[in-house]
């Protein structure tokens, strides 16, 4: 049995230890906001916070996560009130929207580390792929979220 806390809720899981965290979240726990994009940590659609660190959950075996704490997009806020979500909405960032949970989780982590990021900080921290090309709006929204978080 592996005990995992996801969005503040504890779960006991009987699974093969090599099962990636992504599929635990999506198929065991029904948290489908975290997306499958590549399976090899290339695209970032599966980004969640693992013990506070932005992590590509598609390559993290659940076997090593006993006692760990995970935050997913569903746990970020109940009402889209997180500053990053508010900024995303203000800038109408998503197009198809599939990568955006991962983009938002990556941006939240960046702003926790670097509350006022420069463009270079954003380039370095946000390596998630968006096929719709929302990068200019993501950049603008991260700057806006930094403002909103400062209040």
């Amino acid at each position: 049995m592996i005990t995992l806390t996801v969005n503040g809720q504890k779960h006991a899981l009987d699974l093969e230890p090599e099962t990636p965290l992504l599929w635990v979240l999506r198929d065991e726990l029904g948290l489908t906001g975290t997306k499958f994009g590549c399976g090899i940590a290339q695209c970032g659609a599966c980004t969640v916070h693992l013990n506070g660190v932005p992590t590509r959950s598609c390559v993290v075996p659940v076997g090593g996560l006993d006692g760990a704490s995970v935050l997913t997009i569903e746990g970020l806020s109940h009402d889209a009130s997180h500053p990053v979500q508010r900024a995303w909405i203000e800038h109408d960032v998503p197009q198809c929207g599939y990568c955006q949970s991962g983009q938002i989780m990556a941006a939240v982590a960046l702003l926790q580390q670097t509350p006022k990021p420069s463009d270079a900080d954003i380039d370095a921290a946000i390596s998630n792929i968006c096929r719709c090309g929302t990068y200019p709006r993501i950049r603008a929204a991260i700057h806006r979220a930094a403002e909103l978080a400062r209040g």
Binding site: N7, Q9, E16, T19, P20, W23, R26, D27, E28, L29, G30, L31, T32, G33, T34, K35, F36, G37, C38, G39, I40, Q42, C43, A45, T72, I73, E74, L76, H78, D79, A80, S81, W88, I89, D92, V93, P94, Q95, C96, G97, Y98, Q100, S101, I104, I122, D123, I126, S127, N128, I129, C130, R131, C132, G133, T134, Y135, P136, R137, I138, R139
Partner: protein
């Protein structure tokens, strides 16, 4: 609350209340949404609800449903794949209807209903066609409902309809000081027969359309709640992963299911078109078993082929028999007059690579089939499901989910046929998901092509003659949609046969040549390669004539004021001709596709180590009329990044008959650090032009960037991607 939530609602959520849009697929049909304890989406099968219920929603025509609280649900017949159509089409309905925009919701129109009633016309989404084909229809739908609501109110009040007006979801009789909400009038309005359809506004009378309104689907896409096909969960659902023949068109020779059937959770191995599906209680288990399943393949006709062979074959085909697609004057003779310029270009296969890998969920019941899928073609998906399951078309329910990217790939649903096949075999609901590797290796690709251009320049820089030849795969033949018996198909020569430059004599020729690699529509289709060729070649001609690339184009476009306006806007906003630091250059390109003209100026830095950085792209756009300028801007940004990714990095190559690339490590994507600043300027001719916007941003970016690279390095890129050319030395 048994009512389902709409796919999209406008406005911000109320703090503390989960109003976030829980997308469901068919409000009155079959699907009931509720929250699971874990917060995910669970779908159950409910019962169809009568179209008009006491104190319930009322259908006013096939496209509009009005609720007692005056909220209006607008049915959209086109798929939302990022282009914003779930916002733009409702805006055109609301423009006429006079509803409260803040109470507008969206649901996808029913393909099942469309089978028998044809209420929704073609539900296929592609060709940047949705607004172009439906703007008047959507206005008429809104106007018709408005007239019925007015008629119902006028009758109730005993006043002439002409004395009533609408606004904010109410019918008003100002003289009598009376007003009634749409909700109170809907049931009576639904019964009104109009003597004649009301007139609709002309675009210059719009008050709502034309404004940069926020998208209706944004909130759900910022919270993880938007439901894509891959997110569907059904009671007792099992999962399937596939193992497909690495060589497209190949088949299974033999396999040993016993190697995986004893594993935890593995339930079955089912033959499907192209290979085998492994069914399990969890996707991960199915995926692992599919990877480990021993299979011997018969590679079929594609065995032993590779990209070098195809490349040579396309080049050779240009010397064979070609079919004329456009012929004016005596081009052969004209090419002997003046300075002859020749160039040959090549483009590779490309993968669509939508972020959401292909997937489909299906349930085969004794009396029908339910399918959940992100598809660009619900009509065809329905027919495919019916044929695969062996049921009548009207017994199939297609639930169109949000598409995690389409770009043309989801116009043909290979994954649906597999999912229905498995669901029929196992008798349970099945979610079948392709891995990224399967998605990339079993795409239907942008055709590979070889092209050759010849032109003769007069002393003043005008063109005496132009001859363009293309050897390219036929999309209609590959899809089995047609034979292209004439030897030409529109996709092959779009952007060539309609090239806009003034030339006394010109001939465009085509040879269609297919291999075992399936080809299909890739964002902007033929224009994706043909704009690269024409706009690179025109740049070569400008250079050969010793003229500025922008001014050279201006002279050859003097007869096209619409092109000139767009070109001038791009040049002005893009600072054409202004000084730049060493190692940085500008390139310009202009192209018309899907009735929209786009010009782009790209500003590109090339380092001494040959690294390319696209710093800025300025786009000018003439799509005629604009429904929502914010959506136009977003689609230009999107088109630029999509085209830039392919131009800079990508080729699908074949070895031993199989696609070599399998994931984003070998099929590279533009990411944040590579993304240029993008500026979009509208340069609208209006009039009768209603251009598309989902694709036209893509074609000009490759030539604009390549022309900028030439400006910096003196090197012409005649074969894509750019990364295949060594730019370390300069000429």
């Amino acid at each position: 609350m048994t009512r389902q939530s709409p796919i999209a609602t406008i406005g911000r959520p109320t703090p503390g209340r989960p109003t976030l849009n829980r997308p469901t697929l068919n409000r009155r049909g079959f699907v009931v949404a509720s929250l699971t304890a874990a917060g995910g989406m669970m779908l159950g099968l409910g019962h169809a609800v009568a179209a008009t219920a006491v104190n319930g929603p009322t259908e006013v025509g096939a496209w509009i449903v009005i609720d007692p609280d005056d909220s209006v649900t607008i049915r959209v017949s086109k798929s939302e794949m990022g282009q914003g159509i779930y916002t733009a089409l409702p805006m055109l309905v609301a423009e006429e209807l006079g509803c409260d925009w803040h109470k507008v919701r969206v649901e996808h129109a029913s393909a099942t209903r469309n089978v028998t009633t044809h209420d929704y016309g073609s539900m296929g989404t592609g060709g940047s066609r949705s607004i172009r084909s439906l703007h008047a229809t959507m206005q008429q739908v809104g106007a018709s409902a408005r007239a019925r609501l007015i008629a119902a109110a006028a009758q109730q009040w005993g006043v002439p309809a002409s004395a009533c007006s609408v606004g904010d979801g109410q019918v008003r009789h100002v003289a009598g000081g009376r007003a009634l909400g749409f909700g109170a009038l809907a049931a009576a309005a639904a019964k009104v027969q109009l003597a004649e359809e009301p007139a609709i506004k002309s675009p210059d009378q719009y008050t709502l359309a034309g404004k940069p309104l926020a998208r209706l689907d944004t909130v759900s896409k910022c919270t993880g709640q938007a439901m894509f096909g891959i997110d569907v969960r059904l009671p007792d659902m099992v999962y399937a992963a596939v193992s497909l023949c690495p060589v497209p068109g190949g088949t299974v020779k033999s396999y040993d299911a016993s190697k995986v059937l004893g594993r935890r959770g593995i339930q079955a191995v089912v033959p499907v078109p192209g290979g085998l599906a492994v069914v399990a209680d969890r996707f991960w288990r199915a995926r692992q078993a599919a990877a480990d399943l021993p299979v011997k393949w018969d590679p079929g006709a594609g065995a032993g082929t590779d990209s070098a062979m195809f490349r040579a074959a396309y080049r050779v085909a240009l010397d064979g028999i070609l079919t004329v697609a456009r012929n004016e004057g005596d081009t052969t003779q004209a090419l002997t007059q003046g300075k002859l310029v020749e160039a040959a270009y090549e483009v590779p296969h490309l993968s669509h690579a939508p972020m959401e890998p292909l997937n489909c969920t299906a349930q085969v019941r004794p009396d029908g089939v339910d399918v959940w899928i992100g598809t660009q073609n619900p009509d065809m998906a329905l027919q495919l499901a019916a044929r695969t399951a062996g049921v009548a078309a009207e017994k199939v329910q297609i639930n169109t989910c949000f598409l995690g990217g389409g770009f043309g790939r989801r116009a043909m649903n290979d994954e649906l046929v597999q999912a229905v096949t498995v669901a029929k075999a196992v008798g349970k609901p099945v979610k079948l998901v392709w891995t990224r590797e399967t998605d990339m290796r079993h795409d239907r690709y942008r055709p590979q092509a070889a092209l050759r251009c010849r032109a003769s320049l007069a002393a003043d820089g005008s063109l005496n003659g132009l001859h363009i030849q293309t050897a390219v795969g036929s999309i209609s033949r590959s899809l089995g949609w047609g034979t292209a018996a004439s030897g030409v198909e529109p996709q092959a020569v779009e952007g060539l046969a309609n090239q806009p430059y003034a030339v006394a004599s010109q001939r465009v020729e085509c040879v269609l040549k297919n291999t075992h690699i399936p080809v299909m529509f890739w964002r902007s289709v033929g224009s994706s390669q043909n704009a690269f060729v024409v706009e690179s070649f025109v740049d070569e001609l400008a250079h050969a004539a010793g003229q500025d690339a922008y001014q050279f184009r201006r002279k050859l476009l003097a007869h096209r004021p619409d092109f000139l306006r767009v070109l001038d806007t791009a040049a002005e906003k893009g600072d054409w001709g202004k000084p730049l630091p060493a190692g940085v250059g500008r390139g310009i390109a202009i192209h018309e596709s899907f009735d929209t003209i786009v010009a782009q100026v790209a500003e590109v830095a090339v380092s001494s180590r040959g690294e390319v950085q696209v710093r800025r792209v300025v786009a000018a756009v003439d799509c005629g009329w604009v429904v929502n300028p914010r959506l136009v801007e977003m689609q230009i940004e999107s088109g630029v990044i999509y085209g830039l990714t392919a131009a800079l990095f990508d080729a699908i190559t074949i070895k031993d008959g199989a696609v070599e690339q399998g994931n984003f490590d070998t099929y590279k994507m533009v990411r944040m650090a590579d993304a240029p600043r993008i500026e979009t300027y509208l340069s609208l001719s209006r009039g009768a032009r209603w251009g598309g916007i989902g694709e036209p941003g893509t074609p000009p970016v490759a030539p604009a960037v390549c022309n900028a690279i030439f400006a910096v390095t003196g090197k012409r890129i005649r074969s894509l991607p750019i990364s295949d050319t060594d730019l370390t030395s300069r000429t």
